[in-house]
Subunit: 230 residues, 2 copies
DNA sequence: GAGTATTCTCTACAGTGTAGAAGTCAAGGG
DNA sequence: CCCTTGACTTCTACACTGTAGAGAATACTC
């Protein structure tokens, strides 16, 4: 996988292509992206691109991975709560920085975080919180679904105060059946994305803490070792 | 939008096409789906399809919407916790029933729940939990990101006990930096999807409850009316 | 019936990803 | 030096995509 046996300008070319691909995708999104356009931008034959990356699928995967290079993942500390917040914020930063690439990252990495570095931090944090192994495994995934889903929604422009057109749509709903929705319109108009995000992570953290407190001392499962905090 | 002014067999044809489109998509996924294949299956010209649905994009949207028809959305009760669980389970059921269509639903509806019926239930539940309007608005979105992201991960096959190949990959990680991940392997091998899902929703609920408890009496915002439970 | 609105089909075009053959060039051995 | 070898690039070609535009077919109103 890594690098078969390079010759000529193999290594250079590949990263060059990847950079160009990333930039093209980042500026035009999936719609405007094609191997042929990329090749044209590079002044190269389309098949050259396909020679370095076996297929479009692989190229997209590489783009999604490359996105991670632009953010720095936190490392574990002794404070699991701020560790989780740090990881969450790292992904949110990614979504902010490359909103068009983020859906790609989501597609390939929500479905299995290849990104072991950050999941290590998450697992570690959940352990520190006092959860049993089985809970850690399940909630680790939940944390990803949560954070990535949220960041995706934000990248796609949902997590903004609603505009006049949305408001009009909500106003048009049946008052009887949509009481709560309609009365929330003012709050939706003044929604603060940062606050909403922080708040949501907080809810997760509070929930984890409550769960840990409710199952005292954990270790009800056959976890190999104690593996305390650090 | 609804139906301009039908004539001939407009209504019939359209739903017929939509059904066929849904079935095709549900059985072959996005890869195997194309307007031309759909038309061929219907024994009709591709352009006919495009005449009823203005573009492929619109057709996909219609398919995503149609998916919701196959699940029944709960209505609000006096128990906000089980209301949230019910909504979450409804989407999970959807993901289970049509795993190939679910990503589509996610793409179009994670980015703005057109699905007002279920969000009404969610908003109502969060209100009942005792949250202020601003929190309700933000956490409503968080709930969706959470549930949909989780269900998506499951639909795409992530939320399963890891197999031998994944295990091998994890075993290959550096023992020093990936302590937590590696020691979680046994738990990941015996992961129970149902339990993980329930557990995750529980964490959300526990967190909401804790947040509500921490900000006593809410109503710090200019919410129009008291709008109690029902 | 005639006229008209509506739906369907045909043809055509600009794109797409990619298989396979052919070309191009650098390095190494005779 | 030439000639083979092998990686890298390009050319050509194919099957396939969504969809614009003109035309043919159909049904409805009068």
């Amino acid at each position: 996988m890594a690098e078969p046996k390079s010759r000529a300008r193999r290594g250079v070319e590949r990263s060059e292509i990847l950079d160009a691909a990333f930039n093209l995708f980042a500026s035009t999104g999936e719609q405007g992206f094609s191997i042929r356009k990329l090749a044209a931008a590079l002044g190269v034959d389309p098949m050259t691109v396909l020679h370095h990356f076996g297929s479009k699928e692989e190229l997209l995967r590489a783009i999604a991975d490359r996105a991670l290079r632009d953010i720095e993942m936190p490392v574990s500390t002794s404070d699991w709560q701020s560790d989780l917040k740090a990881v969450a914020n790292a992904y949110r930063t990614l979504a902010h920085r490359h909103p068009l690439v983020f859906p790609l990252h989501f597609r390939y990495n929500a479905t299995g975080p290849t990104d072991h570095i950050s999941s290590e931090v998450v697992y570690c944090a959940l352990r520190q919180a006092g959860l049993a192994d089985a809970d850690v495994a399940g909630l680790g995934l939940a944390f990803y679904a949560f954070v990535l889903g949220f960041a995706l929604a934000e990248a796609e422009g949902l997590l903004r105060p609603i505009g006049p057109s949305d408001e009009a749509e909500l106003e048009g709903l049946e008052p009887e059946t949509y009481k709560a929705t309609r009365s929330l319109i003012p709050a939706l108009k003044t929604l603060d994305p940062d606050a909403a995000f922080d708040n949501s992570i907080n809810v997760f953290i509070l929930g984890v803490a409550a769960l840990a407190a409710g199952r005292p001392e954990s270790a009800s499962h056959k976890s190999k070792v104690g593996f305390a905090t650090h």
